[in-house]
Structures are given as structure tokens and as C-alpha cells.
Symmetry: C2
Subunit: 335 residues, 2 copies
């Protein structure tokens, strides 16, 4: 049986540029110096956190497009997602552009879904430029999924901290010198029966393991072919679980695995297990890892954004939390 | 300026099969005899309407795949969406399949987004079979967007009735004799400032007009080149608005426009303006229009699924309701 769902991009679509905007907490982390815009006010001058989240996404896409001296009518499609009900951040952002819009939702795996679809449109000659983006905001996620901040609820030890950040990418036709998206594996939905809504890392680790295993097999590569294998937001606990699960499959992820959720915060206070959210892998890859590929400090990287599939209602109705993970290989251009 | 966002499918991907499941009310409409499964119980034997919605989607995809004598591991990707927060129906359905999953959300335009992406994956030789699907349920939509049914709230005259139904499509490599998806136009997000959450037709009509105009221009066709121009769920009022808007653009839609929301119900009781929901265009096209293309009763059709982009929170925060519409041309195979 050949495994389905791995796409090979022969025409070498590139990530031509990336742009990030983050909140005050993210600005103060060790990655702080890599972000394009660091907000001092996590309301971004808006009357609600939801409007601030939308504005972060809009501005990250506008600045990305402007920096490339493009107009929004030059972009074939915006492919974007977020965590809010009915992905209102992505939807409302898109109305500020003269650009066709595809809304995606695979929770925190949305950025790799967007990049996969963007690369597909470019590689198949359906488009010349696509903007792929994702956003999340700590305050909107807490209000929607858990409790409004005003309630001062205590966070359990296994909890993660939703990243306030927007990351946008311009995926374009091949151009020498830019990092190439060479292949992608679309994730399966994997359910290990986790029901703890504060333990997303455990819910997503099996999906990450499944997608990494499938991607390596389909592309005929091993873990050592990659400088880094980067998961989205498993956090410290989820990353440990992933490495254990991978070990059982005969894969040693110890030498080159990093997790964006572990990278983004100095884990010394309330975020406990590290960062999470649709913006987590999106801003960490865009600001910190993508430039390493561009400058050829690293040559090949597997980005595996991870998502937990649930709603408040599904948890109230006793459903477990399945996970999904999408992977893309990004490598230095050879030409 | 060339208009972006229209995709041409040179390899003629086909819709090989379709499968529909609908609720009791839809079963009793004039289209009732065309649906594959008509439920007598809109809970489908489940403990909640949300679980029933998920089961409808799952069963429609399972039966679709079985009917083609495929296994779910033969399918390259499920591309699916629904209206519930975090698209839990699509997400939870996908865990019952060994198939990679891409979650999409563009409200009631999701089925055309899914079909566009499915056709792209097939046309570009990234996949051989994709399942594209969408679902909605009257009771879950009322509970989430308006009031739980138990409250017995009065519905205003401009309201529509969310279709209880799941429609799934198998989009595959070209095969002689099957209807071909020949092109698609990705919609822009258009906001006319409508704020009445009971008047989705008005919110979506400008987006439908924009997408139809763009699609005709990009494909160098006129309205008379299509046997039917089919909108998703504008309803009676929205359809009138669309025709007025189109007239101002010099387009006469009177002769060949139909709306799935107007087709699905005998408009004689509570549904007022007709059907709506992600399942509306999905089940009407799959059950009633697709067979007409297959039997060559009609030759060429433009399907324009329409979506209203809002959440309860966005409306509470005073946001207007932008719309989006995606269009696909489906035509009889010439070979």
C-alpha cells in the first residue's frame, strides 16, 4: 500500500518573504529580537482583544506584501486561519485586501495547511504569489476556550500559553536563492482518547508522530537528513511524549528535534509547558528558522505544525481531543 | 490588470460520484426523491444534534467511498468543512478515516472551496481521489448562532432555514463520461456593511455578484454560455438582490439563475426565504443538479456557493457581516 497525502513540488516554490508581529510577552523572550514588530500594547489600540488579533494578522500581511513592492491585487490568494469561532480574524482581515481568500482551519496546524496549499497553487502554475498566514492571541483564546482573563483562573501545570502573534509568508514561483518548499505531508486525524483540555501536548503528540513517520517514509529520508525537525506547539510535555512515541517506531528524534512552543518562551513563569496557538509555529518559523534557511546556516528542515481538534461544546459533550499535524520540508535553494 | 484567483484545470478532473444524507424536513421537499438517504429522525439515533451532524457527514463520506469500491486509504485527502465552532463535525468525522484531512472554513461557501482545492490536487497530479464535503444541521446552527430550539424563539421574515444535510463528492482523475470541473474562481471577501444576522442573503449577494462577474471575465464567457448559474443559499431575498446588483454590472441573470436555498424547500411555512447552511448547496448540487450533468440533460453549470462571515461574538462586538463566494464551472465531458 502506498501512503497517500504526500505532495512533491517539482517546480520548487519558494518562501520569498515572511513577516511577524507579536505581543509584549513574546517580545521579551529570547526570540524577541527576531520579530518584525513587537507590540507594547496587546490590545494594539483596539477596543477588544479580538479586534487586536485581527489587526495583527492584517498588518502582518500588509507589511509582507508592501515589503516585496507588490500590491494586494498582485497576490493570487490569501490562505489563512486562526483559532476563533468561524475564523473571524482571518475572514475579517481578508476584507481589507483585493485578494481572493481561502479560509483554513486545522487549529494550530493551520499554518502548515496554508503553506501546503499555497505551495500547491504555485507549483501547479495556478498562481504566482500566495500569502499564507496564521494568528492567535492569548486573551481571545483564554476567553473562548477557557475563562476570560478577568476571572483570574488558576492554570494547571500541564497548560500551555497561547502565543499572541501573527506570522505571514509570501509563497512564490521559484527564484534562485530563496528557501524552497520541496514536499508536504497532509496529516491524518489521530485520536488517542485524551480528554484533558489543558493537556494539548498529549493530544497532539500522536498526530505529530504519525505525520513525521509518514513523511519520512514517503520522501525516503531519515531523521538525520534534516538539520532540524520542528514541531509546532507540543510544549515540553508533548515533546517528551512525541520522542517516546517515535522511539517505539524506531525513530530517534533526540538529536535534532525542537518545538516552537518550547523555543518561544523562557519557561520560568506561568506558561509552564511552553507556547501554543496557531501563531506559535507561524511566528517562530518566520522570524527565527526561516532566516537560518535563507542564510544557509541550516540546509533542510521539517516543519510539523500540530493542532488539537476540539471546541468548548465538544468537550462539554464528552468528546475526546483528536490531533492533526501537517508537515512541510523546507530546504536551501541549490541554485 | 489581470484579475487573480481563477484556476483553469487542463487535465479535466471529474466529479465521479456524490452522496447525500438529509433530515426529515428536506426529505419532504420536492427534491426529497433525489437524496440518497432521508433520515426520519434528525438526531440520527445520537445523544445530541452535534453528534448527529457529525454522523451524517461521516456516513455520507463512507457510503460515497464504498459505492466506488474504494477503501478510505485509497483516498488522498478529505477536504471538508461545516458551520460549527472549530469545524468539529468535519474534524471528528475525519478521525474515522485512514485519509489525510484538510479542514476548510468559508461558512456556507465551504463546499466550493473544498471542490476547488480537490480539483487542484487532482489536476496538478498531486492526488488521484479526493473527497470534498460539507454539512450543516438546523438544530446545531440555531443553537450556536441564534437560540436553542427549546426556547421557541420567533423567526423574522427575512430569516432562512439551515439545511440539515451532508453532501460528499468524489473528485478524481479524468474519466470519460463524467462531469468535469473545468475552472474555479476563488472569492474575495466583500463587505456591504450588513449587520442583520437574520438577513444573510443580503450579506452574501454582493460577494456572489463579485465572483460571478470575475469568473465570467476570466473565463471569457457570458451568462448565456451556462445552462444554469446556481448560487448556494442566497434565498429569495438575496437572489433578488443579486439579480439587481448584476443588472448594474450589465449582467442579466434572470433567464438562468437558480438558488439552492430556493430550490430545496417548498416555501410555505417557517423557512421564509428558503434554505441556507453549508449543507444547502452541497446536497442540492449533489442530488439534483449533478445527475443532470451526468445524464447530459444540462451541459454547463456555474456553481457559486455563498458564505456569510460572522460569529456570535463578532456581531456582539458590532462588526458587520462580510460575504464570500467561490465559483466552479462544471460541464459535461466531451469525450
Amino acid at each position: 500500500m502506498t501512503d497517500k497525502g504526500t505532495l512533491f513540488f517539482k517546480n520548487k516554490p519558494v518562501i520569498k518573504s515572511a513577516f511577524t508581529i507579536v505581543g509584549p510577552k513574546e517580545s521579551q523572550s529570547e526570540l524577541g529580537k527576531f520579530f518584525d514588530i513587537c507590540l507594547k500594547d496587546d490590545r494594539y489600540g483596539e477596543s477588544s482583544y479580538e479586534k487586536a488579533e485581527c489587526k495583527m494578522l492584517t498588518m502582518s500581511m500588509k507589511r509582507l506584501i508592501e515589503r516585496q513592492k507588490l500590491k494586494d491585487s498582485d497576490v493570487d490568494a490569501i490562505i489563512s486561519g486562526d483559532l476563533l469561532n468561524q475564523i473571524i480574524s482571518a475572514s475579517f482581515s481578508a476584507r481589507d485586501f483585493e485578494t481572493p481568500f481561502l479560509g483554513v482551519y486545522n487549529a494550530c496546524a493551520s499554518i502548515c495547511e496554508a503553506l501546503t496549499l499555497g505551495a500547491t497553487l504555485i507549483d501547479g502554475n495556478y498562481a504566482k504569489n500566495t500569502v499564507c498566514s496564521a494568528v492567535s492571541h492569548f486573551a481571545t483564546a483564554e476567553r473562548q476556550y477557557r475563562y476570560p482573563l478577568e476571572l483570574g483562573a488558576i492554570r494547571p501545570a500541564q497548560a500551555q500559553w497561547t502565543v499572541t502573534g501573527a506570522g505571514s509568508y509570501l509563497v512564490s514561483e521559484h527564484l534562485s536563492g530563496y528557501p524552497v518548499i520541496s514536499s508536504a505531508t497532509i496529516g491524518r486525524v489521530i485520536d488517542f482518547g485524551i480528554t484533558d483540555v489543558n493537556n494539548m501536548g498529549a493530544a497532539m503528540a500522536p498526530a505529530a508522530c504519525s505525520t513525521i513517520t509518514r513523511h519520512l517514509r514517503a520522501t525516503n529520508t531519515t531523521t538525520s537528513d534534516y538539520d532540524l525537525i520542528v514541531t509546532g506547539d507540543l510544549g515540553a510535555l508533548g515533546s517528551r511524549l512525541l520522542k517516546e512515541l517515535a522511539k517505539k517506531q524506531g525513530l530517534d528524534l533526540e538529536p535534532n528535534h525542537v518545538d516552537c512552543g518550547e523555543l518561544i518562551y523562557n519557561i520560568d513563569e506561568d506558561e509552564f509547558q511552553g507556547g501554543s496557538g496557531a501563531g506559535c509555529s507561524s511566528v517562530v518559523f518566520a522570524s527565527y528558522l526561516y532566516p537560518m534557511l535563507k542564510s544557509k546556516k541550516i540546509k533542510k528542515l521539517l516543519l510539523v505544525a500540530t493542532g488539537a481538534l476540539l471546541s468548548t461544546l465538544s468537550s462539554q459533550q464528552g468528546e475526546s481531543i483528536p490531533g492533526v499535524a501537517h508537515a512541510i520540508t523546507v530546504e536551501c535553494s541549490n541554485d
